[in-house]
């Protein structure tokens, strides 16, 4: 098989493996609160596009667009988030669940994220392959897949995994655009898709412009006045990338988002303004509940340190140091297009806002997730460099040893252990990956003792459904106080995970009073829900506590009258 075909097959296999693994695994994941919103609006957006494709009259009328995509209030039509993934969720559910009946409804909505995450693994492979070789490419791609937190987000109908993919696709497209005449069109397309996925895409120019300036500076000629040298550098640096970034990308965004087809500036301003003034949710970090700035400057760094598998971190640090050392020695560490610098800038820009102490920290790793591919690529490079170092030392020390063992032994050992450790950690953490912390933190119990956030959006409530189902009564309804799982309750019933006669009792005190069973999702700021339940149920004893590695994540209280039966 020709080399290029072999690489394509590897890339496709990585895509299929990564997508399949996530699609299969997400079935155990509970539904997060925000997913329900995106699913509902996804269906609405998909309906609109289907109407457009089938030529339904009035589809492009301002009122029809507003009805589907917008409205007067800041969150009407979920217009605070761009529509790309929501539209794909809706179309996917329509096809895979409604039309073909291949998947459950939830899986139908989630498949696009899984596929897009598979695309990320594939893109990382091809990006690294073209610069640093196949071993580093495979390592980097697998390390991107086997990250407990990223794997979790890849299984949700949400934007956090997809924006990583499109962000990285933009890096890849930009890197290629520096060498090809028409590459700027791909760059514009990828940046546009990133913008249409999540608002942090607006930071992409902060990655590309410094890199481009450095690239131009390196390309400048050695003779003539400074302006002339720089002009020559610019002329040789495919200046059309700027066109891709600032002209094509916005056009792609507008094309995908009908809400921007009128009053464009106002709607864009509303979208970004919403996020600049976003409410501060409660979030536990190092034992403190944070809900107002100034936040600790180290949130992104410490959270990454505690959530990325330890060996991946060590390898990434090694890879990064190796690149820096080689650069300082004046060696061409990363090729003509300065891809290592690009990756470094990408990670820095993704994490940078969280050093400012004013950016909301709720959501933790998912908000700076575009930094993660850079980290995994540095890890892949680090593994290869360490293996080469070890191989060369062994060959010199014991020249009579079997060459094959010396040549392939170190890399085999490094890849097996590092990727194996990341894999095992990812599978172990699933489906409660937000409660999981790495070995450096001491696992889930260590994370709990350190006062790190345990979960959000009530997704883990799914784990208590089998216990709650035991209290179904054929003759009488047993209302359940569903706490943070309230929006997902109907979906759980529709999926057959929850029996009949266990309706959602309602919100807060009234819901608790009416309920016969109450669940409390454990987050620091949810302590008040335990207290409300104690007061209503006249006891402090839960009947069941869902735990992950011994760390409580959901408590279930049952009224004595049900327990006595």
């Amino acid at each position: 098989m020709r080399e290029s075909w072999r690489n394509r097959v590897i890339g496709i296999l990585l895509f299929v493996f990564a997508s399949g693994l996530v699609i299969s695994s997400q079935r155990d994941q509970g539904i997060a609160r925000d997913e329900i919103v995106y699913m509902n609006y996804g269906t609405r957006y998909a309906d609109w596009w289907i109407d457009l494709a089938t030529g339904k009259s009035g589809t492009t009328h301002k009122d029809t667009i507003t009805k589907h995509f917008g409205g007067k209030r800041p969150t009407d039509g979920n217009r605070e988030h761009p529509p790309l993934m929501k539209t794909l969720f809706g179309l996917s559910e329509r096809l895979l669940h409604d039309e073909l009946g291949w998947t459950s409804q939830t899986t139908g909505y989630r498949v696009p994220t899984a596929l897009v995450n598979g695309l990320l693994v594939c893109l990382v492979f091809f990006f690294v392959l073209g610069i640093w070789g196949r071993t580093a490419a495979i390592s980097s791609a697998l390390l991107v897949l086997f990250l407990p937190r990223a794997f979790f987000h890849a299984g949700l109908a949400s934007f956090d995994a997809p924006v990583v993919t499109f962000w990285f696709a933009s890096l890849f497209a930009y890197y290629r655009a520096l060498r090809t005449r028409w590459g700027f069109l791909w760059l514009g397309l990828c940046c546009g898709l990133t913008l249409a996925t999540k608002h942090n895409a607006i930071m992409l120019p902060a990655v590309f412009l410094p890199h481009y300036a450095y690239f131009v500076w390196r390309k400048q000629s050695s003779e003539g006045p400074r302006w002339r040298r720089l002009w020559d550098g610019l002329a040789q640096s495919r200046p059309q990338v700027l066109l891709g970034l600032f002209a094509v990308a916005p056009l792609v965004l507008i094309a995908i988002w009908p809400w921007l087809w009128f009053d464009t500036i106002t709607h864009l301003r509303d979208w970004i303004g919403f996020h600049l003034g976003h409410v501060h949710y409660n979030f536990e970090y190092l034992g403190t509940n944070w809900n107002a700035p100034p936040f600790p400057w180290h949130v992104a760094l410490v959270t990454t340190l505690f959530t990325v598998p330890l060996a991946t971190l060590v390898a990434a640090l090694t890879g990064f140091v190796m690149i820096v050392v080689r650069f300082r020695r004046g060696e061409r560490a990363d090729g003509d297009g300065c891809p290592a610098l690009l990756l470094f800038l990408s990670a820095g820009v993704a994490m940078g806002p969280f050093l400012l102490r004013t950016t909301p920290i709720f959501g933790a790793e998912k908000h700076w997730a575009p930094a993660i591919p850079s980290l995994c690529i540095f890890a892949g490079l680090g593994l290869v460099w360490m293996a080469n170092q070890a191989r060369d030392s062994l060959i010199v020390a014991w020249p009579k040893w079997h060459r094959g063992v010396l040549r392939y032994g170190p890399i085999a050992l490094l890849l097996t252990t590092t990727i194996g450790a990341a894999w095992s950690e990812t599978l172990h953490a699933h489906p409660y990956s937000l409660t999981h912390y790495n070995a450096l933190a001491g696992g889930a119990p260590g994370g709990a003792s350190l006062g790190m956030n345990r979960q959000f959006w009530g997704y883990s409530a799914r784990g208590v459904l089998p216990f709650i189902n035991k209290f179904r009564r054929s003759d009488v309804s047993v209302p359940v106080y569903t706490h943070d799982a309230s929006p997902a309750w109907g979906h759980y019933k529709a999926e057959g995970l929850l029996g009949d006669g266990l309706p959602d009792a309602g919100h807060e005190k009234a819901g608790i009073r009416k309920s016969k069973i109450a669940i409390v999702v454990h987050e620091k700021h949810f302590a008040r829900h335990d207290i409300l339940v104690w007061e209503a149920y006249k006891k402090v004893q839960p009947s069941f506590v869902l735990q992950f590695d011994g760390v409580p994540i959901v408590s279930v209280y049952v009224r004595d009258e049900l327990l006595d039966k």
Binding site: N388, T417, A421, G550
Partner: protein, 282 residues
């Protein structure tokens, strides 16, 4: 990416230092990977099983008297502890002001963890079940001459406030506490006065701001000033992050009048839910 230095000298002797330098990064990474793998494999071993919790709960049930407290360490195992021993715990115990009035403390600790309530006490019983350790600490209970919280109806309220003071089960500093809740008007002081109080040698109390969402949205502090027989003995500021804050003042034994002056500090301090609990102790 070749090694910079050979690991053996030209004379063929092995240079251990150079070899180690070449292998060290790889070995460190392998070590980190193995450490992670072991941590994953051993994740269950640091977790208490149902049987272990059951054994500890049984020992507590056998040995505990009704005036003894049960605590868990670290705090995050509290829901599990209540699952197995909640039948032995009242709401008043779980939402206590402090641990001083209990005649003994049963502490269940995971992996050697200790609860702050048992600091300085000597245990007379110790039992292990897997990663759980049960310790019993006898203590001389504080003698309460007057419980302001329990007698909250005797308090005479005055001053500008939202509603009336009431006994409430509240979240203060992310913990449950039974307390007298007062909501003074912004920048105003409300007073809860107790007359003919049986005073001991001291008054011990706690104060804090209830409800995480009002603490998030309203950042202004609350303030408690304690007056005994017309004299202000202490002032405690309860900020949004100060939790359940202790205060203690010495008093002269006898009958006296006690006033709690509660202030919502500043014009922005709307819905400032100040919660306090206090006891006069011998």
């Amino acid at each position: 990416m070749a090694a910079d230095v050979p690991a053996s000298d030209t004379d063929g002797t092995l240079d251990i230092v150079r070899l180690a330098k070449g292998l060290a990064p790889a070995l460190l990474t392998v070590l980190a990977a193995v450490y992670s793998l072991v941590a994953v494999c051993r994740a269950d071993s640091s977790t208490a099983t149902e049987a272990e919790w059951g054994a500890i709960a049984e020992s507590v049930r056998k040995g505990r008297t009704p005036d003894e407290l049960i605590v868990f360490a670290p705090p995050w195992i509290d829901p599990l502890g209540r699952q197995y021993l909640g039948d032995q715990m009242t709401i008043a115990m779980a939402a206590r002001m402090d641990s001083a009035r209990y005649s003994g403390i049963w502490e269940i600790g995971l992996n050697g963890e200790r609860a702050p309530e048992t600091k300085g006490l000597a245990s007379d019983k110790i039992e292990h079940a897997g990663p759980l350790t049960l310790r019993h600490y006898p203590q001389v209970p504080a003698i309460v001459t007057y419980d302001f919280t329990a007698q909250w109806r005797s308090g005479k309220a005055s001053g500008p406030m939202q509603g009336r003071p009431n006994l409430s089960l509240e979240e203060v500093g992310f913990e449950p506490h039974q307390c007298i809740k007062v909501v003074p008007r912004p920048d105003q002081t409300a007073v809860v006065a107790f007359s003919q109080v049986a005073l001991g040698s001291k008054i011990v109390g706690f104060v804090g701001l209830a409800d995480i969402f009002t603490r998030r949205d309203i950042r202004a502090p609350g303030k408690l000033a304690l007056h005994v027989n017309g004299e202000r003995l202490t002032t405690v500021v309860a900020g949004i992050n100060s939790g359940w804050k202790r205060f203690e003042v010495a008093t002269k034994a006898g009958i006296g009048d006690v006033e709690f002056h509660l202030t919502a500090v500043g014009p922005k301090a709307r819905d400032r839910r100040i919660c306090f609990a206090a006891e006069a102790r011998k």
